[in-house]
């Protein structure tokens, strides 16, 4: 049984209340941080922990924090990205719904470390009921003196707000999120400047995923070095995985990074194997944007090494034979799944969610959807597969934000690994006698 740091109390009755949460050691990190640590020391611990952003990109959190500009007389902001919209990812919802105080506690401790006095949780529109849960938790924290003026009698003050978004996938991109939070149209900004220099309202801002912020709590409690002992290499700590698809036990699992993928898929403790006694055909291991890979490449790298649940191992072999850990949206497909139909579904999503700012994504995603639809429905042309490949190649890397890449990678990987399946769907021309 792996170590659990984030959702170990998930089944405790009434853990969503401040009282029960505190009985189980909650808010100790706030106490420890404010009373015994300096902000710099906390940032140092986070750096030592090797924690990497849990939203998908995996950028080292400590480094992100140390980039935050600190000009005199200018407010700084911490924004929690709770706009969890990546298809196949639902870990943040689970965490916020079950243990809302874990996020609130992480927000307070992180805000203290960053010298922030106003922090926001930007939550996606579809999670409206979760926003209510969070607001209740924040209310309790204010009443207990954990938020507001002079937290725990210190001279540190923090206000924490929840903002509900309109439900656009693009608002999960950090600069689009900031635009939306400012009350504008949720279009990604052109970078640089990065949020660490000019973010919310033009002030230095750190944007972190829910799980990243929640992970700051155990890091402060156990120390960065201790946290870094969990996991392998540069993939330290635990990670929440949203397991879905054709498995026996879909759900949210907290794993220690470094767990063999095979164990994750087949052991009773986690996914419990493929449903109905079928075989696994393919898997998207990190949310819909990362490349889909066939079962044999999921379990073993091209070099024959067992694949592990780490940032490095899952991307071993690059896009040719690997994928990415991404947000941990682990989607498993059984042998009867149509990859072209799956691709069409993803294309439709990205087309719908493209913000329309830059040309390749605005026009390309719609085009890919139409071609993929034709292919999946069996009306494709022999040139369509190469056309799809060409379109994705011309989107990838040429857009303002990563949505273009996210739309292109599934197409590239589906064609790379399952080309025959697409070819089989193209009607054969009748030969004239």
């Amino acid at each position: 049984m792996g170590k659990k740091l984030l959702i170990h109390n998930e089944h405790v009755a009434n853990i969503h209340t401040l009282e029960v949460y505190k009985q189980h050691g909650g808010y100790a990190s706030v106490e420890k941080a404010i009373k015994t640590m300096t902000p710099e020391a906390i940032v140092e611990e986070v750096k030592k922990s090797g924690l990497r952003g849990r939203g998908g990109a995996g950028f080292p959190t400590g480094m992100k924090w140390s980039f935050l500009a600190k000009p005199e007389g200018v407010p700084r902001y911490l924004v929690c990205n709770a706009d969890e919209s990546e298809p196949g990812t639902f870990k943040d919802r689970y965490l916020m719904e079950k243990i809302p105080h874990a996020l609130v506690e992480g927000m307070i401790t992180s805000s203290f470390a960053l010298g922030v006095h106003t922090a926001y949780i930007y939550i996606r529109g579809e999670y409206f009921y979760v926003s209510r849960i969070l607001e209740k938790a924040i209310e309790e924290a204010y009443a207990a003196g954990l938020l507001g003026k002079n937290i725990l009698g210190s001279d540190y003050s923090l206000d924490l707000y929840v903002q509900v978004g309109g439900g656009a996938y693009i608002c999960g991109e950090e600069t689009a999120l900031l635009e939306s939070l400012e009350g504008k149209r949720g279009n990604p900004r052109i970078k640089p400047p990065f949020p660490a220099i000019a973010g919310l309202y033009g002030c230095p801002t750190v944007v972190n995923n829910v799980e990243t912020i929640a992970a700051v709590v155990p890091i402060v409690m156990m120390g960065g070095d201790e946290y870094a002992k969990i996991g392998i290499g540069r993939s330290t700590g635990t990670k929440l995985i949203s397991a879905s698809g054709h498995i026996n036990k879909p759900g949210v699992y907290e794993i220690e990074l470094g767990l063999p993928v095979e164990e994750f898929v087949y052991s009773e403790e986690y996914c419990g194997g493929i449903w109905k006694g079928k075989k696994m055909k393919a898997c998207i291991p990190g949310g819909s944007s990362v490349p889909i890979i066939p079962a044999e490449l999921l379990l073993k790298t091209a070099a024959g090494e067992p694949r592990l649940m780490t940032y490095e191992s899952l991307s071993d072999g690059g896009f040719a034979t690997g994928s990415m850990l991404g947000s941990g949206g682990f989607m498993v497909y059984d042998e009867d799944t149509s990859i072209p139909m799956n691709l069409y579904t993803l294309n439709r999503f990205y087309h719908h969610e493209s913000c329309g700012q830059c040309s390749p994504c605005r026009e390309g995603t719609g085009w890919m959807e139409k071609v993929a639809h034709r292919l999946a429905e069996g009306h494709g042309k022999p040139s369509d597969i190469d056309l799809l490949w060409d379109i994705q190649k011309r989107i990838e890397g040429n857009t303002i934000c990563p949505l273009g890449d996210a739309a292109a990678w599934p197409v590239a990987s589906a064609i790379r690994h399952f080309r025959q399946e697409f070819e089989a769907l193209i009607p054969k021309k009748e030969v004239a006698h």
Binding site: C355, G356, C358, S359, R362, E363, W367, N398, I400
Partner: protein, 315 residues
């Protein structure tokens, strides 16, 4: 003062210069085409991706190349930076891709479009486009919207460059139009079909790179290459009064702002000059307007154009 090398030409530029500006300083042979960037409009650029270039060396301090093509209009030069534009087959191909994307849903109704002849998308398609399309689906269309008696909105032709939105925002008071909806159904429009009505709103026509916003008072009057551009001015209490008149015989068919080498207006003009002064006696005519780089109008001959791409093509 940082030094930057673009396609083998080295130039020293002031701090804060973008790659695009530096390339324009070198000359049209290295300057990337632009569809959304407009030097007179703050925060413009970055959307269309036609001006992408490859940074092969970041700077003297950090010589690493940039991993992806960058929008030259929004990327600042660093000392020692090396950039490839037309000399990079990869960039030329990527630009072809962008042009293809811009054209797949464009109606290609040039024969009835008033912008034809001075349309940047036409130029771009001519230089970088394919002779046929790979897009065999129905093209996107929008419902027609009336935005007043002076400006014709043709949303089907729009490439969402945001120039008009920024013009309305930065040049006129009380912006009444913007971008509605999302993705490939996003459109520029006025809120609840409100008419655009203020003294400088006509400038959105001049900044539009395509035929999405055209002059209603000039609608279907003439192809632009049959009109003769002359510089003229008048004493205007609202604007500089410096304009270009487009004449057919003695008739003033159209009034626009004066545009520079890059197709950008030199000075904004007011609606009175643009729409209401259509008699030669309203104006003091200075002499013929030289139109180069982006237009077939200048000499009525394609081969006289300054743009080297046309020369290469031998047209």
């Amino acid at each position: 003062m940082p030094k930057v090398t673009i396609d083998g030409h080295t130039i020293q530029v002031p701090d804060g210069t973008t790659i695009l500006q530096a390339a324009r300083m070198i000359g049209p042979e290295v300057a990337p085409p632009t569809m959304c960037y407009y030097s007179k409009l703050k925060t413009s650029g970055g959307y269309c991706r036609t001006c992408i270039v490859k940074v092969t060396k970041g700077s003297d301090k950090d010589p690493r190349p940039m991993p992806k093509p960058v929008a030259s209009c929004r990327t600042m030069v660093m000392d020692g930076m090396e950039v490839v534009n037309n000399t990079s087959p990869e960039i030329v191909d990527a630009r072809k891709g962008v042009v293809e994307f811009l054209l797949i849903n464009h109606p290609l109704d040039c024969p009835v479009c008033d912008q034809a002849g001075e349309c940047h998308l036409q130029d771009l398609g001519y230089e970088h486009g394919l002779s046929s399309t790979r897009y065999d689906f129905e093209r996107r269309t929008f419902e027609r919207k009336d935005i007043g008696d002076k400006i014709q909105l043709h949303m089907n032709r729009c490439i969402l460059c945001y120039r008009c939105v920024k013009t309305a925002d930065q040049v006129t008071d009380g912006r009444s139009h913007g971008v509605m909806n999302r993705g490939d159904v996003a459109e520029i429009s006025t809120y609840i079909e409100k008419a655009i009505d203020n003294d400088f709103s006509g400038n959105v026509i001049d900044v539009c790179p395509v035929g999405a916003l055209t002059d209603k008072t000039f609608r279907f009057k003439s192809r632009v290459w049959f009109t003769k551009p002359v510089d003229a001015h008048r004493d205007c209490p609202k604007c500089s009064g410096k304009t270009t008149l487009w004449l057919k015989g003695e008739d003033v068919l159209r009034v626009t702002a004066r545009k520079d080498q890059w197709g950008e207006v030199e000075e904004w003009i007011c609606n009175e000059c643009r729409f209401d002064k259509k008699k030669t006696k309203d104006w003091i005519i200075e002499g013929p307007r030289k139109i180069d780089h982006h237009s077939v109008i200048s000499q009525n001959h394609y081969n006289k154009l300054a743009n080297p791409h046309y020369k290469k093509l031998g047209k």
